[in-house]
Amino acid sequence: MRKKRVTQAALIGICLLISYFFLLPFLFMFFTSFKDMAESIGSSRLVPSVWSFSNYIDLLNDLTNVQIVRWLMNTLLTTILGVMLVVVVDTLAAYSLARLNLPGTGIILVAIVWIMSIPGIVTVFPAFYIAKNLNLVDSFIPLIFPYGANVLGVYMIHNFLRNFPKELEEAAFVDGANLMTILVKVVVPVIRPVLITLAFITFLNIYNDFLWPSLVISTNEMKTVTVGISSLVLGSNFTNPGMMMAATLVAVVPTLVLFVFLNRYIVQGVTNTGIK
């Protein structure tokens, strides 16, 4: 018994050591964001010698070109609308495939697997070319709607529904309920765990997407936070690390908070819905 306790303590010790490496970048970002410009450039101490809020005050006052609040609003708007689009459209499609005997279901499912294995780089530049020719660059349309073409979601929901008994739905159908009512009242409560998983994965994907929004957005006001931070990283005249870390911190807080509460859903979804 005592030996087991000692092993546990040793294992926790190792975990703590590893945690330090996982936390260090976050701590570095946090502490550096409270350093004033001189200290953030010159000092290599982790913790600031003088705690300064100037970076955050400057950020909120838009003193620089860093419109972090505006970027955050853009990102939240596009992400939330994008997630809603994906969840609604994919649920309807998966329901049709799994329950309504849509002609060609077998072919569609095979096609979905093939499409999932084609990397995004094949379609992202042509999509940009189309958006450019239609004068949609620098608008919300390309920041929201293209994310709706999400085959992964259809696949996940379909797999979950396929393994779930449909007696309840049949009964409702015999009782004369229409298909939409059955979907909303009977099916959606059943597939709720998958929908949460899908919504959360999609949220992270859209919020953190980099290549696509960097192609279709060029003005400062329309940037998403991810693109905004990248312009700070790539901008040659931007030399205040403290300010950059403050902006980065503001950018990652929403996903991080959501993540701490919802992270178990990501993996549940991946294991239960047959993605692997």
């Binding site: 294992l11 190792i14 975990c15 490496f21 996982f22 970048p25 976050f26 010159g42 290599s44 609604v88 459209v89 309807l92 499609a93 329901y95 495939l97 309504l100 005997n101 849509l102 002609p103 990397p119 780089i121 094949v122 992202v124 530049f125 042509p126 999509a127 070319y129 189309i130 709607f145 709706g148 073409a149 049949e170 298909l179 992270l204 919020y207 953190n208 997407d209 980099f210 290549l211 936070v225 991810t226 693109v227 931070i229 990248s230 790539l234 690390p241 950059m244 870390m245 980065t248 950018a251 990652v252 996903t255 959501l258 993540f259 701490v260 992270n263 993996v267 991946v270 294991t271 692997k276």
Partner: protein, 303 residues
């Protein structure tokens, strides 16, 4: 349920519209466009057949050089990153598997947390931790006596350190997800197997070989495939952390395609490069799939 086909189709229609507009149309535009001579900002559109592919693959041109430079760099990254990424997430999962709740939950979330961060945030943080002679990492290493203060390491400007920096950032950023897959797979192993085998005097390496590995082998192949594809798609880290440098030594294939299209305006050539890259990724998938099938048969027979 007996439903008329058109009703079923009505439910499928919204997805179909979005999919056709935002996936199928770009895909076809890409395939067709790779056979023209489009340039961004001009109106050229002459059909050139497979000439772009020929230029990229066989002719002595800068497109040929750019493509194979990117492909080579990407293969280097796949070569140095896949094994550490898979082994580290497996080791972390094995470690967590032996830690008891509530600590297990705490560490699981801590190791997985960086997954929620965007590649630009990862890059912003790592650049400032690594950049310059007086960077936090350089000073810390010299204080620990690992490097001398007079010769700091150019983490972003010298090889092989530039690759190490990208690898380190990638490990920190992505290892948590695959670790969670392994954690779940390990949870499904019957604890009685461990107990029975330790009564029989089996050591941990033996348990790993005969109990753990056979149980998680499917997850293992999945993680290996996933990691290979992710490493092959390397883009943000090398664009933002090292900007493809020093020289062009960390410029990945995705980044070369980006530059061909966005900086040199050669849209059609870039589309052709992207399609070729798609083929390479699919070859990887197929090769690994076939390999896995053979291994599976082998495992079945042995059982």
């Amino acid at each position: 349920m007996r439903v008329k086909p058109w009703k079923a189709f009505l439910f499928f229609l919204p997805f179909l519209i979005v999919f056709l507009l935002f996936w199928a149309l770009p895909f076809i535009t890409g395939v067709v466009g790779s056979m023209y001579n489009y340039r961004l900002g001009t109106n050229r559109n002459d059909f050139v057949g497979l000439q772009n592919y020929e230029t990229i693959l066989f002719s002595e041109s800068r497109h040929h050089d750019n493509f194979f430079l990117g492909l080579g760099n990407t293969l280097i990254f796949v070569g140095i990153s896949v094994i550490p990424l898979v082994i580290i997430c497996l080791l972390l999962a094995l470690l967590l598997d032996r830690v008891k709740d509530p600590w297990k939950k705490v560490f699981r979330t801590l190791f997985f947390m960086s997954y929620a961060v965007s590649v630009t945030a990862v890059s912003a943080i790592f650049i400032w931790m690594l950049n310059g002679p007086g960077s936090y990492i350089n000073v810390t290493l010299s204080r620990l006596g690992i490097i001398s203060a007079e010769s700091p390491i150019g983490w972003l400007s010298e090889q092989p350190f530039a690759w190490l920096s990208i690898l380190g950032a990638t490990i920190w950023w992505t290892v948590g997800f695959n670790m969670m897959l392994f954690v779940n797979a390990l949870n499904e192993i019957d604890t009685q197997l461990y107990e029975a085998s330790s009564i029989d005097g089996a050591s941990y390496p033996k348990q790993f070989r005969y109990i753990i590995m056979p149980s998680i082998i499917h997850t293992f192949w999945f993680v290996l495939l996933n990691t290979t594809i992710a490493s092959f798609n390397l883009y943000g880290q090398s664009y933002l952390i090292t900007r493809g440098g020093p020289g062009q030594s960390t410029s990945s294939l995705s980044l070369q395609i980006y530059r061909t299209i966005m900086e040199n305006k050669n849209l059609s050539v870039g589309m052709a490069m992207a399609i070729l890259m798609g083929f390479v990724v699919m070859l990887f998938c197929m090769a690994q799939y076939l390999l896995t099938q053979r291994k599976k048969d082998y495992m079945e027979v042995r059982k």
